[in-house]
């Protein structure tokens, strides 16, 4: 599986070229900065630096872009932890436990844990890519609409009752999210719920809605507070505690490895990407945990699961791009554009003829993950000062920046209007105990599930039993049902045990 002569050539190529290395730190810093700005996505950050790569050689250009990719992958988690805004859609699940940790004054630990999870996630994903690039790509080719719909349903069911005290409220919120996700024209050409507004034909703008639901609603609720962290003694910024947060990751190897594997596999599926990986990994960690109630209240394992998955999805999507020439999402599409700018065509032939360059990209990414550990620590140290800013300044600043980010994504007033509507909805729902995260998950997965179900329906000619010809999809659904049944049985046993214990007391 590993081509050792090509590997040696890759080492020589990297060892003999200073150009290949000097762009790593600037790339990581640009990625961190843009990823941390709400509304600026990983792909937007890469698109902004793409023209600069035109005058570089091919390998330094790709290394520069992958450095931005790696930096932005972690950058999105900084505002997710500090102000409950997922800097990118891949950091939604990072907010679930990251922000509660920050509110408890554990912002240093949360950021340290997020950073180390991201770095190890990237490392693991590229190790898997290094060994299994070809077989992984072949598996991806077998994934069709049935399997994609099954993955989407898996995510939705796992997260239906996220963070909420009541399953009914969680399901209601998820249902509202799914309905919002179906607004506009579906792939069969039917227009629903657009209310005659032209920009709703493409559906509800997802990122502005998500930022409104998660962040702006939270900021409204904080209007009467003075600081994000109420206790002054806990507002310290400590390198020692950031490093201690990194140590938490090493103490949770199962959450880390599970998140990384989920991230690689889901990241490799074109069109699914890191945002779904982030959510599914979090949901899985919560489901198998002996203490699921602690999730959403600042459990570091939730943060580790979410961050390792969104970072490791980078390696997965790179596998699909390098082996098949198929971009899994916006970021890999920009990498392919850079290939084209240098007259290189990605895909199986590139992989066969330039295995040394493929290995050089992979080795460089190992180095990027390690350098990110240092650069990211310094960045996190500076970014943590947010907890010391008075909320009377932070609230208008973040609301304005989010609004401008929403405008930047949509290119019109549609972004800010969506942000406002969903901010009010999110504030009202969280005020009355509905888990806002469930609406976000519904919104993200609703569109994916509908599109894939429709494709499956069209392929089957309306025959639901046609699914039996897709054993992988059936396997995912059976596994989901079995694991849900086991979780339910465990919950019932635990409740009985608690009841018995309180009766004895």
């Amino acid at each position: 599986m590993i081509d050792f002569p090509a590997f040696g050539a890759a080492l020589n190529m990297l060892g003999g070229s200073l150009d290949a290395w000097i762009w790593v730190v600037p790339g990581l810093l640009i990625g961190l900065l843009f990823g941390a700005l709400p509304g600026i996505s990983v792909s937007m950050a890469m698109a902004l630096v793409l023209p600069a790569t035109l005058y570089m050689d091919f390998l330094p250009a790709i290394i520069f872009l992958t450095s931005v990719y790696t930096g932005a992958g972690f950058g999105g988690s900084i505002p997710a932890v500090l102000i409950n805004i997922p800097g990118t859609s891949s950091a939604v699940a990072t907010t679930f436990d990251g922000y509660p940790m920050a509110q408890k004054g554990l912002h240093n630990e949360a950021l340290g844990a997020a950073l180390v999870s991201s770095c190890i996630g990237v490392l693991i994903s590229y190790v898997i890519l290094f060994v299994l690039v070809q077989p992984l790509a072949e598996i991806v080719l077998r994934i069709g609409p049935y399997e994609m719909a099954a993955i989407g349903i898996w995510g939705l069911v796992l997260l239906g009752s996220i963070g909420g005290s009541s399953v009914t409220k969680g399901l209601f919120a998820a249902g509202i999210g799914v309905l919002c996700g179906t607004v506009g024209m579906n792939t069969a050409g039917y227009m629903r719920g657009d209310m005659g507004i032209p920009w709703l034909l493409d559906g509800v703008p997802t990122i502005p809605a998500m930022v409104g639901l998660l962040a702006a609603s939270q900021l409204f609720a904080l209007v009467n507070a003075k600081f994000i962290v109420a206790d002054e003694s806990k507002r310290t910024i400590s390198l020692r505690r950031i490093i201690a947060g990194g140590g938490l990751v090493l103490g949770s190897p199962v959450a880390l490895l599970r998140g990384s594997f989920i991230g690689v596999f889901i990241g490799a599926v074109p069109g699914v990407g890191s945002s779904i990986a982030n959510l599914i990994s979090y949901g899985e960690a919560r489901r198998v945990s002996p203490d699921p109630e602690s999730y959403g209240k600042g459990n570091p394992r939730g943060l580790i699961a979410a961050e390792s998955a969104n970072s490791s999805s980078e390696g997965g999507s790179m596998a699909t791009m390098l082996a098949l020439g198929i971009p899994g999402g916006g970021a890999t599409a920009i990498l392919l554009a850079s290939f084209a700018m240098h007259n290189v065509i990605g895909g199986p032939r590139f992989m066969e003829q330039n295995r040394d360059i493929v290995y050089a990209i992979i080795i460089s990414n190992f180095a990027q993950a390690l350098i990110l550990l240092l650069v990211g620590t310094a960045f996190v140290f500076v970014a943590s000062t947010v907890v010391r800013l008075p909320l009377r300044y932070l609230i208008p600043s973040v609301l304005v920046m989010s609004t401008m980010g929403a405008f930047a994504i949509e290119g019109s007033i549609a972004g800010p209007i969506t942000l406002f509507v969903f901010a009010v909805l999110g504030w009202l729902m969280s005020r009355y105990g509905f888990p806002v995260a469930a609406i976000v998950v519904g919104l993200l997965l609703g569109k994916l599930i509908e599109t894939e179900l429709l494709r499956a329906w069209q392929l089957a000619g309306g025959d639901p039993l046609y699914i039996l010809e897709h054993p992988v999809a059936v396997g995912i659904l059976v596994l989901m049902a079995v694991s849900l049944g086991l979780s339910l049985r465990r919950d019932i046993r635990r409740r009985r045990a608690l009841k018995a214990a309180s009766a004895v007391a």
Partner: protein, 153 residues
């Protein structure tokens, strides 16, 4: 630890919220059914809308008999008013973006939000909003390829 239930009451605000959302879900379902009854139109939308309406029954029943527990902390009317003022100011800011320009809107909203947040010192009120507006407008002009209307800059 179990909290003691003192009495039960009707929770009007959450009841109104879920009823409004269920109403919107029903209106959406009827509109979608008006477009077409084809399963390709209603495959996910219809079962989800029915699920939301079914859950509304459970939730509404719960909100009609909401328990009032011991030690329940509620915001004071002044605190609620301050949140509503911020929501209103943010709404006006969004409305003003295209009407008066992004620059003036940002300036005005930042100033009002600082006052709502409790800032009373004249110097920060005078300096922070225009400086912040300058930074945001120029920063986003560099980053964003789309033009946005401004009055002053």
């Amino acid at each position: 630890m179990q909290t003691a239930i003192l009495r039960r009451r009707i929770a009007w605000a959450p009841l109104a919220l879920v009823t409004a959302l269920a109403g919107i879900a029903l209106a959406y379902l009827l509109e979608a059914r008006g477009v077409s009854h084809d399963p390709q139109n209603l495959l996910l939308l219809q079962p989800t809308a029915w699920l939301v309406l079914g859950l509304w029954v459970f939730l509404a029943f719960g909100f009609l008999r909401m328990p009032v527990t011991e030690g329940e902390v509620r915001e004071t009317p002044a605190e609620v008013l301050r949140i509503l003022a911020m929501v209103g100011a943010f709404g006006l800011f969004i409305l003003g973006l295209e009407a008066v320009g992004y620059d003036l809107s940002i300036w005005g909203f930042t100033l009002v939000a600082l006052v709502i947040g409790g800032e009373r010192k004249p110097l920060p009120l005078l300096l922070f909003p225009p400086l912040f507006m300058l930074g945001v407008v120029h920063g986003f002009r560099l980053l964003v390829p789309y033009p946005f209307p401004t009055s002053l800059l």
